[in-house]
Amino acid sequence: MKYVLAALLLMTTALVQASFMPAFPVFGVVPNLVLAVAVCWTVVRGQQEAMIVVPIAGLCLGLVGSRPLGVALLATTPVLLLSELRALRLTPSDFLLTVVIVFLSSMLYEMILLVALRLQGETVGWFAAFLRVVLPTAIVSVLFTPPLYWLVWSRSEVLRRVRAFA
C-alpha cells in the first residue's frame, strides 16, 4: 500500500515537473521535485522505505525524460548513500537534514547526468553547466522542499493512523 502510494505520488510529481513547472522557471531552471519528494520520504519514513522509494523516483524521472531509462535511476542513487546522514543525527531537526540532503543530492544528480551526457558523446561545458544549471537547480529544489516535506509528512501521518486502526 505505502509503496503504491509512493509510486503514485512520485509519478504525479514527475508529470508536474515535466509539464507544469517548465512554464515557471526560477533562475532559468526547473526544480527537481521528484528528487525532493524522494528525499523527504527518506527522512520522514526511514532508510528501509527509501531503498524502494528512491529507485522508483529514478524510474519515474527516466520514464518521462528523453535520456536512456537507467540514467535517472543511476543519478538518484546518491540519495541512498546520503540517507545514512539521518542515523548520524548531525542536525537538530529532520527538516533541516532534508534540506541539506536535497541540496547535495540535487547537485550530485545533475553532475551524474552531465557525465552521462558526456559519455553519450555530447559536448559538456562543465563550468557553465555548474553555474547555470547544477547550482541553481539545487537551490530552487531546496526552495520547493518545505511544501513537499509537509505533503510527505502529512501522508505519512495518515499511513500511521491507518496502520494503527488496522
Binding site: S19, F24, L63, G65, L73, L74
Partner: protein, 274 residues
C-alpha cells in the same frame, strides 16, 4: 555506511547500467513510448493549465513595458505592411522571370506533418520536447521541426513508434549553420544552458546589427536554407577579437510550444538515399 545499504546501492547501480544498455538497443522503447502515451492527456492538461497562468504572471511583470512595446509594434507593423506590398510586387516579377528562364525552385513541394507537443524533458540540462508523431508517421532522426510560422524549433533526435523527442535549437548541444539575412555573414547558431542563442564564428568585419534576422544557411546539409532562427539582440566583442559576439533571441516562443510542424520533405544530407 551499513553493508546492507552499500550492497543495495551497488545493486541499483548495476540495474541502472543494465537499463541504459537495454535502452540503447531499443528493447525498452515500447515501455517509454507506452508511458508517454498513457500520460499524454495528463501532461497536455497540465501544460494547458500552466500556460495561461504563466502568461498572466508575465503580463503582471511586464505591464510597464507593454505600452511602449505596443507603440513600437504599431510603427513596425506599418513598415512591414509597406514592405509586404513591395515584396509581393517583387515576387510577381520574380515568378515571371523564373517562368521565362525555367529556373527550378529550391523547395517547390515542402511537406509538413503537424504534431502536438506532449512533454518537456524534466531536466534543465537538456532542452527537448516530446511530440505525438513517430516512426509510424514516417519520421526519421535528423528531420527538421519548425513552428507554424516556419521558424526553426529543432531536430528529431530520438524516435519511438508513435512519439519522438525533438532537441530544441536552444539546447547546449545544438549547432545550426546560419547566416545573417541582411549582410549574408555566415556563422553557427548554438544554444546554451541559459537557453539563449548565440551566433559563433561571425567575422569581426561582418556588418551585423541589432534587429537583423538570422536564417539557416544549408551549409552542412542538416537544415534547408532560409528558415528563420531568430533576431539579433546584442552585438559585442572587442575589436581585436577574431570573431564578433552576437546573441539572438528565437523568433518562436520555444518555452510555450503547443503545435509544431515536422519538415518531412527535407532529409539531412547524411540520411538521403543515394
Amino acid at each position: 555506511m551499513s553493508s546492507r545499504v552499500g550492497t543495495w546501492t551497488l545493486g541499483i547501480v548495476v540495474l541502472s547500467l543494465a537499463l541504459i544498455l537495454l535502452s540503447k538497443t531499443g528493447v525498452l522503447d515500447p515501455l517509454q513510448s507506452g508511458v508517454l502515451s498513457i500520460t499524454s492527456p495528463v501532461q497536455h492538461g497540465l501544460r494547458n493549465a500552466a500556460d495561461p497562468l504563466a502568461a498572466w504572471l508575465s503580463d503582471i511583470k511586464d505591464v510597464g513595458d507593454i505600452r511602449s512595446e505596443n507603440d513600437q509594434l504599431r510603427t513596425e507593423n506599418e513598415q512591414l505592411k509597406d514592405e509586404v506590398v513591395r515584396l509581393r510586387e517583387g515576387q510577381t516579377q520574380l515568378q515571371e522571370l523564373q517562368k521565362l528562364l525555367q529556373i527550378k525552385q529550391s523547395y517547390p513541394d515542402e511537406e509538413f506533418l503537424a504534431a502536438n507537443v506532449l512533454a518537456k524533458d524534466p531536466s534543465s540540462l537538456k532542452d527537448a520536447v516530446a511530440i505525438d508523431r513517430g516512426k509510424r508517421d514516417g519520421l526519421r532522426e535528423g528531420m527538421v521541426v519548425v513552428t507554424e510560422g516556419h521558424s526553426v524549433v529543432g531536430t528529431v533526435t530520438h524516435l519511438f513508434d508513435s512519439y519522438s523527442w525533438v532537441t530544441l535549437v536552444t539546447d547546449p548541444n545544438s549547432a545550426v549553420s546560419a547566416m545573417v539575412q541582411e549582410s549574408r555573414a555566415q556563422g553557427v547558431v548554438t544554444g546554451s544552458y541559459s537557453r539563449k542563442l548565440s551566433i559563433e564564428f561571425v567575422a569581426q568585419g561582418a556588418a551585423v546589427k541589432d534587429g537583423d534576422v538570422v536564417i539557416t544557411s544549408a551549409i552542412g546539409g542538416l537544415y534547408p536554407a532560409g528558415l528563420v532562427i531568430g533576431k539579433v539582440t546584442e552585438v559585442g566583442g572587442a575589436a581585436q577579437d577574431l570573431f564578433k559576439k552576437v546573441t539572438l533571441e528565437p523568433l518562436a516562443s520555444l518555452s510555450h510550444l503547443e503545435t509544431v510542424l515536422v519538415l518531412t520533405s527535407f532529409l539531412p544530407t547524411n540520411l538521403e538515399t543515394p
